[in-house]
Symmetry: C2
Subunit: 328 residues, 2 copies
């Protein structure tokens, strides 16, 4: 592999000059700059990232901590984050948390010695305040720390998030306006920071219509099976309902399958609204009414946070809109 030294020799200058030209933060005379650039090109020189990192005390890598890449919206987010960060020339190291708080804790312990450029937290689960503190403290080590999905600004972490409460409230109000009153909520509430917000929106809409009923709140996990099981169990218990607000599209799909299996028609008997607008929803029959998601916008915000050297702890709020299809 060619090194700065090779380029320097070839160009007849010192390695310091080569470095200065390539990093372009110090003034270098025009002819030197051109000669160096030409030689670097000729030799196909690329700096050794580890040498750079060791010298600078920081690598060019950002760790992306993802709640669970098996969930569609996390996969989509990963996609956009990776390409956005690549565009600004930072490498992405992927950690899949699988919703395990222990894995997050372990990461936090390892993080300081990893010499990362930053960490992006894409986690829906509630995070222990000690961990949050440790994460925020990484900032003092020169890392850029950003949360996508939940608002952690009050813990000192720059955040990009949807207004989940408003979104859920909008969707549930839409169901109420159809004349439905017995509307269930299926989703992760207690363990999920984002889920809690969504639930609050649901609750607010129903309370406003004086139709809130605790027995219709089913605190479940994110996956398909959760949606199916919740519906099956409720039906077995003779609980009746005419609408479902799901905490994710996957849950909504599981619920729709269960309704179908029990001979209930969507949306005639029970209307269903999902959360996240994953691509598949449009190909279901009935097609899934859901709330939009904006991973591309989030990725763009993220880049802005990484552009500055020490980004402010601010919230970039995004709004979800209702995507009306057949299921509600």
């Amino acid at each position: 592999m060619t090194t700065v030294l090779d380029v320097a020799r070839q160009a007849g200058v010192s390695p310091a000059t080569v470095s200065r030209v390539l990093n372009g933060n110090t003034a270098v005379s025009v002819d030197m700059r051109e000669k160096v650039l030409e030689c670097a090109r000729q030799l196909g020189y690329r700096p050794n990232p580890m040498a750079q990192g060791l010298r600078k005390g920081q690598s060019n890598t950002v760790a992306l901590l993802v709640g669970d890449i098996a969930q569609r919206h996390f996969a989509e987010l990963t996609l956009h984050v990776q390409s956005a960060l690549e565009a600004i020339d930072v490498d992405l190291q992927l950690f899949n948390l699988g919703h395990s708080p222990d894995r997050l804790t372990e990461f936090v312990c390892r993080a300081p010695s990893m010499k990362l450029r930053g960490v992006v937290l894409a986690v829906s689960d509630k995070i222990h305040r000690d961990v949050l503190g440790a994460l925020a403290a990484l900032r003092e080590l020169g890392l850029t720390v950003v949360s996508i999905g939940q608002d952690l600004t009050r813990h000192g972490i720059a955040s990009i998030a949807h207004d989940e409460r408003a979104a859920a409230q909008r969707a549930v109000t839409y169901l109420i306006e159809q004349g439905r009153r017995r509307i269930a909520y299926i989703g992760n509430i207690r363990n999920s920071a984002i889920g809690t917000e969504r639930f609050r929106g649901y609750q607010a809409a129903l309370r406003a219509a004086d139709a809130y009923d605790e027995t219709l709140v089913w605190d479940m996990t994110y996956r398909y099976a959760a949606g199916r099981d919740a519906v099956l169990r409720a039906l077995d218990r003779g609980i009746s309902f005419t609408g479902i607000q799901a905490g994710s599209d996957e849950i909504a799909m599981g619920a729709m399958a269960a309704l179908r299996d029990r001979g209930l028609a969507v949306p005639q008997d029970v209307a269903v609204v999902g959360f996240g607008d994953i691509e598949m929803g449009a190909y279901l029959r009935p097609a899934l009414t859901t709330l939009s998601s904006h991973p591309d916008v989030a990725a763009r915000h993220l880049c802005e946070f990484f552009a500055g050297d020490d980004p402010p702890v601010e919230l970039r709020l995004m709004q979800r809109t209702l995507v009306e299809r057949d299921s509600a």
Copy 2:
């Protein structure tokens, strides 16, 4: 941050000894080893990965090149690969190719200077032979190079792959045994190495039954829309068929939506078989009959390739089985 030097001072030994204890490949006296270990623990010492990498000429990072993480099976594979590699203590750097050959080429140019521990290629698309050559050549630089999904052993790259041809042949034969003869193939054929294999299996099964008809072969991309569009177009042209072998579960879903929209019943009028057994398939109504996938097994094989220093160029072949559900 604490360094080897800190640990050495604390333990009253030389940094060389600390390094030897921590790397454990050279003999060190028992009392020294214990003292060093104790001090390292006390100080919470973790080696600086960039210093290690610079010294060794190689980092601890493996690049995972993924065809398109927006496709479910790639997301699932990423999940398993990441956790398997983490277990053997290697970091995962994610590259999403988005099926772009240019991005792959660019990676190949960058790769030598990246000082990677290895690269994992999870790509369904056909790869240009020059790129393949460059990839295989990385091996001489000490990288471990493994392909998951397509067999590249004849290009000098260790591979983990399903027997796609046998799988498709099995599934299509199953449809034929139901008395169906006009069976369509929807999938990526020309541009996809894996798709080509699947198509060959389909073709072999139909030829064996003397029922192969080229007008029922629809070369499309991987996504939902492709499945829907292919079916709609065929129906518009008055082409009739009683079965569909899809090149992916997503395509199968798109096709089922189109059939439903045109008033055709699955499986009574048209049977549908997918490829890959993504979780969602079980929650469709009718539930999707499909061919199993084994990302967990693949990840396990992968670790074995990374365990040895210079793994042999061999093929680990996996068999898909037919997952019988309602759609066929």
